[in-house]
Symmetry: C2
Subunit: 233 residues, 2 copies
DNA sequence: CCGGTCAAGTGGCTCAGCCACTATGCCACC
DNA sequence: GGTGGCATAGTGGCTGAGCCACTTGACCGG
């Protein structure tokens, strides 16, 4: 435990920027959906380079606290930039099984409706999402954006604004489970295969088969997720 | 949920770099302590700018998977760059209370011994750690490095290689609880005050008071941490 | 009122370069 | 022999300028 052997660790610049950003959000009373100052402005007012500001924003991005839209600004996802306390994270995990049950009910019905009601244009959009996910995986990404698009396209094709609204209320939690699920080795390609099966059923107009395929898919995701949760000692 | 309204989200470049880095570590069979290629080399071989490589490395840094030493290269902390599965994280949380109990026992005794055995030079090192943490907090950081140095200095001043070895075996888990604890609002300054009390007792050679101050400090940390753990439904 | 166009604003990314720090090997000196 | 100092190359930290792609909103013509 000799001290002298350890390197001198100065805090990195981006960490200080992070602190200032958190403080700014708190002081300015910003809340979810509000826009952060532009990177150039932040760099100027903090007296650092844009690259350092960007590093800080990347950190906030991977922590899911901020969403940077190319050309459109950077937006707050929550009311604060503080990392979520473990307590709340555990709390949310406990509610997750319910969310996944709800998702199964909703998406199964959505797939069924989509098979019956989809227009050719909507079918095409679903297929594009499939292609997009395939490209993502080929590039080495996990396909999370393609996955999101696929489910969004199916939802749109079902032409049920009520079911779509329900989906919206659990969208955030679904996003989280999606990311975690697709991080499992081998998951992206298996998920793509299941999407393909759903697509084919919808393309064929086979409502029953589409519902079954979607149910199987959602249950797979739920299973992966539940394995990571240990409810008690 | 119309798809066309959503921005075209191409995966950010740094995310792709991240994937390639993970793959490289796996394929090259690198393990903890090994050095990653230099940023310039990575940028060249991946065909991206150094800024993008750096963004990816910053992500790995905040995830604790990598340690970048200014001028000395970037090193692997674990044998992999994959984020820790939630399952293992939960497992470790369950063991944490034991670790904190052990820490209380060890550090209390270490403080006591330090008060009796410390040399003037060692006392000076402890004071420097205190000053360092104060500066960190003044700069807006959370003081985690100063905290680490303080406890390391006290351990060294105790002149007990056996106790020091015991501390080493739980060092990793202590580091994690340290980081999390100091993230709580107001914690850094309160922690600094407790450190000061410990320092003064050691400086005065008051073993009993030093032990008591250290016990109080460690228990405070343990309390903060335990609040975040919900053992059952 | 609608739809198209255009300019300003913004994030994504690159390039070139300087600085601070580290690691290494060499060399003078003891 | 080895020990300490020192130069040098390598490396991460950070900057500034700049280009591109995309979004946004205002403006204008129909």
């Amino acid at each position: 435990m000799s001290e002298a052997l350890r390197p001198m660790v100065k805090s990195r610049l981006y960490e200080q920027v992070l602190e200032r950003l958190r403080a700014h959000v708190t002081e300015a009373g910003l809340s979810a959906g509000d826009r952060l100052p532009a990177e150039r402005d932040l760099a100027a007012s903090l007296g650092v380079s844009r690259a350092s500001v960007k590093q800080a924003i990347v950190v906030l991005e991977v922590q899911g606290l901020v969403e940077a839209r190319h050309g459109g600004g950077t937006y707050l996802v929550r009311d604060t930039l503080d990392v979520e306390p473990v307590e709340q994270l555990v709390e949310r995990r406990k509610r997750l099984p319910e969310v996944l049950e709800a998702r199964e009910a909703l998406e199964t019905k959505l797939a069924e409706l989509a098979a019956e009601r989809r227009t050719d244009a909507e079918l095409e959009t679903i297929r594009e999402a499939l292609d997009f996910m395939r490209d993502e995986i080929a590039e080495g990404a996990n396909g999370v954006e393609g996955d999101r698009r696929f489910h969004a396209a199916v939802t749109a094709a079902a032409h049920s604004s009520l079911l779509a609204d329900f989906m919206k209320t659990i969208a955030q939690q679904i996003t989280e489970s999606r990311t975690e699920s697709l991080r499992q080795p081998g998951r992206p390609s298996r998920s793509l295969a299941q999407h393909t099966a759903i697509y084919e059923a919808i393309a064929a107009g086979d409502a029953k088969k589409a519902a079954a395929a979607m149910r199987k898919h959602v249950r797979t995701v739920a299973k992966v997720r539940l394995l990571t949760w240990v409810p008690e000692d």
